[in-house]
């Protein structure tokens, strides 16, 4: 009798635990479902809106030719509301070009700063700098945009004048690149710093015990060991550069044709194009921005796939 009771209790206890388990799993499941469905709804919405220009007659303007759209070197051939000859080929090139240039500035500076904070600076200074970096990464992008249009544009304009180049009030590729570099710098620094700091002390000691200097150790062993985390910071940096709209549209100059490869040319990116005049337009000129959105998502996806592939390669192969 007592034995059965004991047994019964155990089953009851167990099933109660199991019930809680099921409940919690249910809550997790539902949360996952909610966030997944929000993403799916957004994608469906943008896809439907973005595909419309290519399959409908756009109130008499005619279908947008997808090949022309993807390779075009002019945003709109003809006047708005009377033409369907849109093109974003040059904007895709602008976007990738700008993202790469800003990475070329922000990566070296960010990684060196991270190395300084993690390994070189005295403890107090490094705590101070770490706080500064954290604050910087919390600043909203519009502030960087305002700083860009108030300070960087003036600097670029003056510099261009000095070297005898006409610039449209400083709006240019270089101004955009500088603003984006500044914006992605804190992210890159913070993530690289964590990666550098988590490199094992034993590896560092191993290098020093071989008669390597601190500098040699930092550059040849510590950075090499942190390369996977540093690469992750680059991926996030590129993401920020590709996805930023507000700050970019304040300093890019919003060119309507291109691509703009000269540093002092005005330019435009996929995001700034989507944003520009969004509130004042309707019909095809409105819908086409969703098509640009699809292109942007694909560009980001492809960049991430490529960078992750490279990261895996770099992570497993020896570095010199």
């Amino acid at each position: 009798m007592e034995k059965t009771l004991e047994c019964f209790k155990r089953i009851l206890g167990k099933s109660k635990k199991e019930n809680i388990d099921i409940l919690i799993r249910g809550i997790f499941g539902i949360s996952a479902l909610i966030s997944a469905s929000v993403i799916i709804i957004i994608i469906i919405f943008i896809t439907i809106k973005g595909v419309t220009p290519f399959i409908s007659y756009n109130q008499g303007l005619g279908q947008v030719n997808i090949f022309r759209f993807l390779t075009g070197r002019v945003w709109l051939d003809g006047a708005a509301f009377s033409s369907s000859l849109y093109g974003v080929g040059f904007i895709i090139i602008n976007t990738v070009y700008i993202a790469l240039l800003s990475l070329m500035i922000s990566m070296p500076i960010g990684v060196l700063t991270a190395l300084f904070i993690a390994k070189v600076a005295p403890q107090r200074l490094s705590i101070f700098l770490r706080t500064v970096v954290e604050l910087l990464s919390a600043i909203p992008s519009i502030v960087y945009g305002l700083f860009g249009s108030g300070v960087i544009l003036v600097l670029v304009y003056n510099f261009a004048e000095l070297v005898g180049i006409q610039s449209k009030g400083g709006n240019s590729v270089i101004a955009t690149v500088l603003v984006l570099s500044l914006m992605s710098l804190p992210t890159i620094t913070a993530i690289s710093e964590v990666a550098i700091r988590s490199v094992g002390k034993d590896i560092e000691l191993g290098s020093l015990a071989l008669g390597a200097t601190k500098t040699q150790t930092n550059f040849k062993v510590v950075l090499a060991s942190a390369k996977s985390g540093i690469f992750a910071s680059a991926i996030l940096g590129v993401g920020r550069a590709l996805g930023e709209a507000t700050a970019v549209s304040l300093v890019a100059g919003n060119s309507k044709s291109g691509p703009s490869l000269g540093l002092f040319d005005i330019t435009s990116t996929l995001t700034s194009t989507m944003l520009e005049g969004l509130k004042e337009t309707t019909g095809l000129d409105y819908d086409i921005r969703f098509s640009v959105g699809i292109v942007l998502m694909i560009v980001i996806l492809l960049t991430n796939i490529i960078l992750n592939y490279v990261k895996r390669k770099v992570g497993s192969v020896s570095v010199k």
């Binding site: 000691l205 191993g206 015990a209 071989l210 390597a212 200097t213 062993v221 090499a224 020896s318």
Partner: protein, 251 residues
């Protein structure tokens, strides 16, 4: 008999804590010296004095005299970098760099300025052969060193130290993270190496000390209790504490 190291009245403090108390001893050239003693008695601390790795520990203060080849290494002006190329170190846990096997061995020479590929090739091959690792890895020198087994990694770390052509190799419990077979390989290697190098090895394994060392030093609570030929220490120690320790009565 010539001494490669000669230590006189060495005191070492971590902050207020005195970890080494008035240590005086000589280390013979081209011999294996084993340091034994219970955990926390200061063996690793002493070992780190010999290539000044204690410099890297904050608030570590050293008093006394450490001579390496008749040179005073504690003086400020002494070139630590050069000392460490002459006095190599192998750590308890294998710590290969996350790069290829070749680059691991070539690392030290590269840092000291050797750039020529042909020269490095010779150094790497020679070091790997001396560390009895060459045959196992010759076909995959470009592979990442982290893919090696623990025992191979430790021999790689020894090869890495050998590549610098040091006089002395310091080893801090180099086999404590390894299985018996890998341990045996390292012990054989140490027996080979002692013809060309002076080896100072910390070990918790009495049999190991007896098997591979010529001299044994027994430390206890920061003091050097006794140093003598290994035979003497293990058969007729002078000090009662040494006898207690090696017969396993404490520690």
């Amino acid at each position: 008999m010539d001494n490669i190291f000669s230590i006189k009245d060495l005191d070492l403090y971590y902050g207020n804590f005195q970890a080494l108390k008035s240590i005086s001893l000589d280390i013979d050239r081209n011999k294996v010296t084993a340091l034994i003693g219970p955990s926390g008695c200061g063996k690793s601390t002493f070992l780190r004095c010999l290539n000044r790795m204690n410099d890297l520990i904050e608030n570590c203060k050293i008093e006394g005299k450490i001579q390496y080849s008749q040179m005073d290494i504690q003086t400020k002006s002494f070139n630590v970098i050069e000392l460490r190329t002459k006095v190599g170190m192998v750590f308890q846990k294998p710590n290969p760099f996350p790069m290829s096997i070749y680059d691991n061995v070539a690392y030290g020479p590269r840092c000291s300025g050797i750039k020529k590929k042909s020269e490095l090739d010779v150094i790497v091959e020679k070091a790997l052969k001396r560390a009895a690792l060459y045959e196992e890895v010759s076909s995959r020198l470009k592979d990442n060193a982290l893919g090696l087994s623990g025992g191979q990694q430790q021999r790689l770390c020894i090869a890495r130290a050998i590549a610098m052509e040091p006089d002395v190799i310091l080893m801090d419990e180099p086999t404590s993270a390894l299985d018996p077979i890998a341990t045996l390989k390292i012990e054989e290697l140490i027996n080979d190496l002692k013809r060309n190098y002076t080896i100072v090895i910390v070990t918790h394994n009495m049999q190991q000390a007896a098997r591979i060392s010529d001299k044994t030093a027994f430390f206890l609570m920061g003091e050097l209790i006794e140093i003598d030929s290994t035979d003497k220490i293990f058969t007729q120690p002078k000090n009662k504490k040494t006898e207690d320790y090696i017969t396993g009565r404490f520690g």
